[in-house]
């Protein structure tokens, strides 16, 4: 089921993020996915996140579908021009993938191939617009397609941006370009979502709050340094540092944010839960139970 359909049926949607392996062996990755599949509605598969070269999103989405898990294909504009992107959208549709999260993508300077030529022929907004076109049975150039797609395009907003207005305007632009759901960048202070939730409600587009699991103080410091778009607030850093069991504390922090998001957003999107079993723990702690 697509995220947009789910939002109509359910009070609270849970998605989680899965990172493809750096290499050809996907067994562990699939195991992680199967472990958490019982308690999430869909699994996002990242696409060269942080500009790190890995197995592609589409291959894993397909493997997930074979195991009856609903995937969200993440698609970025960094590595492909508009021809390749549209072609990949058709590929995804052919393989039964319906949810597509349209992203600009991280700059190559941040990743493990800083010498690469980056593309950015399109960006997140024009990619959404391209999906809309394919759904109408034409390509970006207006050529008629043999068979239209029926994809459900989604997008990301960063509630931590400062100033916040340019992000809000971009959110509007994304909705106009066809975004049917939002998954936000990680938030630690739920009040930051206020203006975004307001826009999402006005436009009737479901919004899932991004929840990041901080497993250790070192990891929190690492994301502060290397992951763009947000900072872990100082009081949470202190809480983690003072904790005898930081992973446990990280789970509690995530669960707290989930509780705050209930009744406010249409769901949550859990990121960076890497270790097996963490997503289940966070959800159980956050009071979200689901038949496995």
């Amino acid at each position: 089921m697509t995220i947009a359909e789910l939002a109509k049926k359910k009070d609270f949607i849970v998605t989680a993020e899965l990172t493809p392996p750096k290499g050809a062996d996907y067994e562990d990755t699939l195991k992680k996915a199967q472990d958490m599949s019982g308690c999430v509605d869909a699994i996002n598969v990242t696409d060269g996140q942080s500009a790190l070269m890995r197995m592609g999103s589409l291959a894993l989405c397909h493997l997930l579908r074979e195991r009856d898990i609903d995937p969200v294909l993440q698609l970025t504009c960094r590595d492909r021009n508009r021809i390749a992107l549209q072609s990949d959208l058709l590929n995804a549709f052919a393989l039964g993938v319906r949810n597509v999260l349209c992203l600009t993508g991280d700059h190559v300077a941040l990743g493990d191939h800083p010498e690469a030529k980056q593309v950015f022929d399109l960006d997140s907004v024009s990619l959404l617009w391209a999906v809309q076109k394919l759904n109408k049975g034409v390509d970006m150039q207006g050529n008629t397609l043999k068979g239209a797609t029926d994809l459900c395009p989604g997008a990301v907003v960063n509630p931590n941006a400062s100033p916040v207005e340019p992000q809000l305007l971009k959110m509007e632009r994304k909705i106009e370009a066809g975004a049917r759901f939002f998954q936000t960048q990680a938030v630690f202070e739920i009040f930051r979502l206020d203006p975004f939730v307001k826009t999402a409600r006005e436009k009737n587009v479901p919004l899932l709050a991004g929840i990041m699991v901080l497993r250790t103080p070192a990891m929190a410091r690492f994301v502060n340094r290397h992951v763009s778009g947000f900072q872990v607030p100082e009081d949470l850093m202190a809480e983690l540092e003072a904790s005898p069991d930081p992973t446990r504390t990280g789970v509690q922090i995530a669960a707290r944010t989930i509780n705050e998001a209930k009744g406010f957003c249409q769901g949550v999107h859990i990121m960076n839960a890497g270790k097996q079993g963490l997503v289940q723990q966070i959800l159980a702690e956050g009071g979200i139970t689901r038949a496995a």
């Binding site: 960094r78 600009t104 980056q118 970006m140 941006a161 305007l169 971009k170 370009a177 960048q185 778009g229």
Partner: protein, 227 residues
């Protein structure tokens, strides 16, 4: 000098200028002269077209090298003492337009699409500010070019990563281009330009068409004869 720019269609220029009354036509005599857009006859015909749009042309000014920031500052001071105008139309490459836009109090619009800058005279810039894309969108972006000012060259707003006006990719050394654009459009009361249908570039326009190349060669040959 191998600069190539092409006048924008007057329909597009008219669209940009529709809310203004009095215009300063500012042309670059540097590289522009080798292509001809800043030639007196060409400026006269631009003036005539502008007047047909119902605007007054307060003055026509040609400056050697609009990429020279100090020179631009000097001539704009001079023009502002002499005339009243509420908008500036710049006949130059995208670099000149951006320098004028930085220095001027009035909204500044490009008259041309810059297609190629094979070599460059005038002040050397620390960073390329025009990528000669052949489809100048400075009117929509507050006179700051997103193709060069944004590390990813994004056309439809900032990525999520900018913090306090710094670029997420190079926070120590670069401002976020989209933050600059947002500030400019906010000051100009044109935040409406930040929403709406996405901008998608036509990259075929950055290839110089044959007729422009041969026209340039003709102009260059003529120049050599008179030397």
């Amino acid at each position: 000098m191998m600069l190539l720019s092409r006048l924008k269609p007057f329909d597009e220029i008219r669209d940009h200028l529709k809310d203004f009354e009095t215009l300063l036509l500012l042309a670059c005599n540097g590289c522009g002269e080798s292509f001809g857009n800043a030639e007196p006859e060409c400026l006269k015909s631009i003036e005539a077209e502008i007047e047909k749009m119902g605007l007054d042309v307060a003055d026509i000014l040609t400056v050697d090298f609009l990429c020279e920031q100090l020179l631009v500052r000097h001539w704009l001071d001079h023009a502002n003492c002499k005339e009243n105008f509420d908008v500036i139309l710049v006949v130059s490459c995208g670099i000149g337009v951006q320098v004028v836009s930085k220095e001027s109090q009035q909204p500044t619009y490009p008259a041309c699409d810059t297609i190629t800058i094979g070599a460059r005279l005038g002040q050397a810039w620390g960073r390329e500010s025009c990528k000669e894309c052949g489809q100048c969108i400075l009117p929509q972006t507050g006179g700051v070019c997103p193709l060069t000012a944004c590390s990813k060259g994004l056309l439809n707003g900032p990525c999520g990563g900018s913090q306090e006006g710094r670029c997420e990719v190079f926070p120590e050394t670069r401002e976020c281009g989209w933050h600059l654009i947002y500030k400019r459009l906010e000051a100009a009361g044109r935040k409406d330009l930040l929403v709406g249908r996405p901008l998608i570039k036509d990259f075929s326009l950055s290839e110089p068409p044959e007729e422009l190349v041969s026209l340039r060669n003709e102009i260059l040959a003529k120049g050599e004869e008179t030397l």
